[in-house]
């Protein structure tokens, strides 16, 4: 097993000056499950394909373990990859699919047999070994693709959106199985997805990318509770975080407040130092509140502390255990969470308490999150 390190890695295509992947630095520890996530075209797949050796490197270095592998052909990198459409060889049986790599290396038959048997047992596909890929269901194909990657016991696993061709239920199931598999094998894994839920639930760490640049790397809790900028805050979490634009004003002794045309909110004390040091008084900022950190007053135990807004309900969405209530505050939409049994009539004006411990402030120009005392 090995660590993987990307150092100032860039990818440019000829005839197109922009960097698809732009000088990224990322270090993935031995045995880590790293998820690259981002919207389509953010360069996550390209990065993975560079690690795999399927794309050339324009600039920078890729280390697998201690060696630079920039110019090493894929087969010498001791990695294996699972593709989005599984890429099973349709003309070969499941057994042949799994044994293909070893056959090419002229592995002895009994070793090959036992490794295929072992991986197929782990993935519970032993009974499918004689079948052709077209006789398998989507979930079974997915397992075979995983098995084929597994059987060679590579140093690094690369998975390129492996679950996006499965239906929702199977996806949840395979998600758990892949995590469990990683727990057993502890092989360094790089997993690419555009689905932030997959990223949150699977990764030991998440790397969020946009336009070829890394936005933030961190544990799922980290990127969720302390997003580095507006993009990360908006990308991670469903329903997405509420963002409001307003101005910081000074209230004298009471500290600072965030004000818009419709409401004024007292900002928590922990932001005071930052506001002073960056002299943000009377400047624009963005305020972010996740839907679960805003609630009807009856469901908030703490003191509201001047953090109340009022909105007109226009939509209420039941998602099983919870209900998400959408309100209009002027022209802006705002979503907050309420218990499923809470029925608020459409058109009613409701008070909403924002939980002060979870308020996030973002700089209006750089869109970076403003640090507070907890950083």
């Amino acid at each position: 097993m090995a660590s993987v390190r990307l150092s100032n890695l860039s990818k440019r295509y000829e005839g197109n000056g922009t960097n698809v992947v732009d000088r990224i630095n990322l270090s993935i520890e031995d045995g880590e499950f790293m998820v690259l996530v981002g919207p389509s075209g953010c360069g996550k797949s390209t990065t993975l394909r560079m690690v795999a050796g399927l794309e050339s490197v324009s600039d920078g270095d890729i280390y697998i373990g201690p060696t630079i592998v920039n110019d090493m052909p894929p087969k010498q990198r001791d990695i294996s990859m699972v593709f989005q459409n599984y890429a099973l060889y349709p003309n070969m049986s499941v057994y042949e699919n799994m044994a293909f790599g070893m056959r090419l290396r002229k592995t002895e038959k009994h070793i090959m047999d036992s490794s295929v048997k072992q991986s197929s047992r782990v993935l519970e596909i032993e009974h499918l070994l004689e079948r052709k890929p077209r006789q398998l269901s989507g979930g079974q194909r997915q397992r075979v693709a995983l098995g084929r990657a597994l059987v060679r016991q590579p140093q690094v696993f690369l998975l390129d959106e492996p679950l996006s061709n499965l239906d929702a239920r199977l996806r949840v199931q395979m998600r758990a199985e892949i995590v469990e598999l990683h727990r057993q094998l502890a092989t360094t894994t790089i997993y690419v997805t555009h689905d932030q839920i997959e990223a949150m639930t699977m990764g030991t760490r998440i790397c969020i990318m946009k336009n070829g640049k890394i936005q933030q790397v961190g544990t799922p809790e980290d990127v969720y509770t302390r997003p580095s900028n507006l993009f990360v805050a908006g990308f991670i979490g469903t329903p997405p975080i509420n963002i409001m634009q307003g101005t910081v004003v000074e209230l004298g002794e009471k500290g600072f407040a965030f004000t818009t045309k419709r409401f004024t909110l007292r900002l928590p004390k922990r932001y005071e130092a930052t506001i002073r040091s960056q002299s943000l008084m009377n400047r624009n900022v963005f305020l972010g509140v996740r839907p679960e950190f805003a609630s009807l007053p009856a469901y908030y135990g703490g003191k509201s502390d001047g953090l109340e807004i009022r909105g007109e309900v226009f939509f209420s969405e039941l998602v099983g255990a919870d209900r998400y209530i959408h309100v209009h505050i002027g022209a802006d939409a705002f979503v907050f969470r309420a218990p499923a049994y809470e029925r608020v009539p459409i058109g009613e004006l409701v008070d909403i308490v924002l939980h002060p411990e979870a308020l996030l402030l973002f700089h209006a120009d750089t869109e970076e999150r403003l640090p507070d005392e907890r950083d």
């Binding site: 795999a52 894929p74 990695i79 990859m81 459409n85 060889y89 003309n91 090419l104």
Partner: protein, 290 residues
């Protein structure tokens, strides 16, 4: 037991569909007529061959034309069976070589990037448009400078390069996902392994179509025998058939033999097509949809 199982309303044809089926059937029968005539003609005895007005169906079917073809022509220096053997040998070799080489050519055209690729592919496409006659002289020149005049190579080599098949294979290989090849490369396969273990097996459905096309062109090829063969023993069946009638001053002699030979020329094409037709149609449908 009912002879005609009752169909549900859904399966019943609408009047428009019925009309279409009727028209198509008529067209098919019309297209079938020359083939029926060919079969009948070959079995006609001498007096029926020259009947006026000619009859469509044979009345006194006889094998005499085929016997003539095999025995009478024995009296000539080269027996008809020799022409048949030459034809079969060269055609089969051509089919095998043309198919393999076409896949070999289509693979890099479809899946690899190299300089001059578009130029190469468009020149293959352009060569589709040449009338065969225009390349006869250069081709003769090439064959004679290669020093393979009067050998089986001269029969086979010119027919191996079939642009249509290259095009067909290229279109088909285009549909094979790149992931498949990349996955194989990551597992350590060389390009040739990728070709042999993945591309070729996946191309098998198209091979049927390619085989028919190349067999037809090889089997009916007259040019090689006329231009590149000096020995009578190296010439093929189409050449023999053409000498039976047009080579002679009068058009009466050996009409029966010619009719039998014409059927013999037609049969292999017919059999191969019958055997492979379902696959051919699926290839066509496949490359159309995707």
């Amino acid at each position: 037991m009912r002879l005609w199982p009752r169909k549900s309303r859904l399966n019943r044809l609408s009047p428009y569909q019925l009309l279409l089926v009727l028209l198509m059937t008529l067209l098919a029968v019309f297209m079938l007529m020359p083939i029926v005539f060919l079969f009948n003609h070959a079995f006609k005895p001498m007096h029926e061959l020259f009947l006026y007005p000619p009859t469509f169906l044979v009345r006194d079917a006889t094998w005499v034309n085929f016997l003539d073809l095999l025995t009478v022509s024995k009296s000539t220096i080269v027996p008809a069976s020799r022409y048949l053997f030459n034809s079969l040998l060269t055609s089969v070799l051509t089919v095998v070589a043309a198919t393999f080489i076409s896949i070999l050519c289509a693979f890099p055209l479809s899946k690899h990037q190299f300089k001059g690729k578009t130029l190469l592919f468009s020149s293959i496409l352009v060569s589709l448009m040449f009338a065969p006659e225009t390349v006869q002289i250069p081709r003769y020149y090439v064959i004679s400078s290669l020093g393979i005049v009067n050998t089986y190579f001269a029969h086979i080599l010119p027919m191996v390069a079939l642009p249509v098949i290259v095009f067909l294979f290229k279109q088909f290989i285009d549909q094979i996902p790149n992931d498949l090849l990349e996955s194989a490369r990551m597992e350590g396969a060389s390009e040739f392994r990728v070709f042999m273990n993945i591309i070729v097996p996946l191309c098998i459905p198209v091979v049927a179509t390619a085989a028919i096309l190349s067999f037809q062109s090889a089997w009916n090829n007259l040019e090689a025998s006329q231009l590149f063969m000096e020995d009578e023993t190296m010439k093929t069946l189409p050449f023999y058939v053409s000498t039976l009638t047009s080579g002679l001053a009068n058009s009466v002699a050996r009409q029966g033999v010619a009719a039998a030979a014409a059927l013999l020329m037609f049969l292999p094409n017919f059999i191969i097509f019958l055997l492979l037709q379902s696959r051919v149609i699926s290839t066509m449908a496949h490359s159309g949809i995707k």
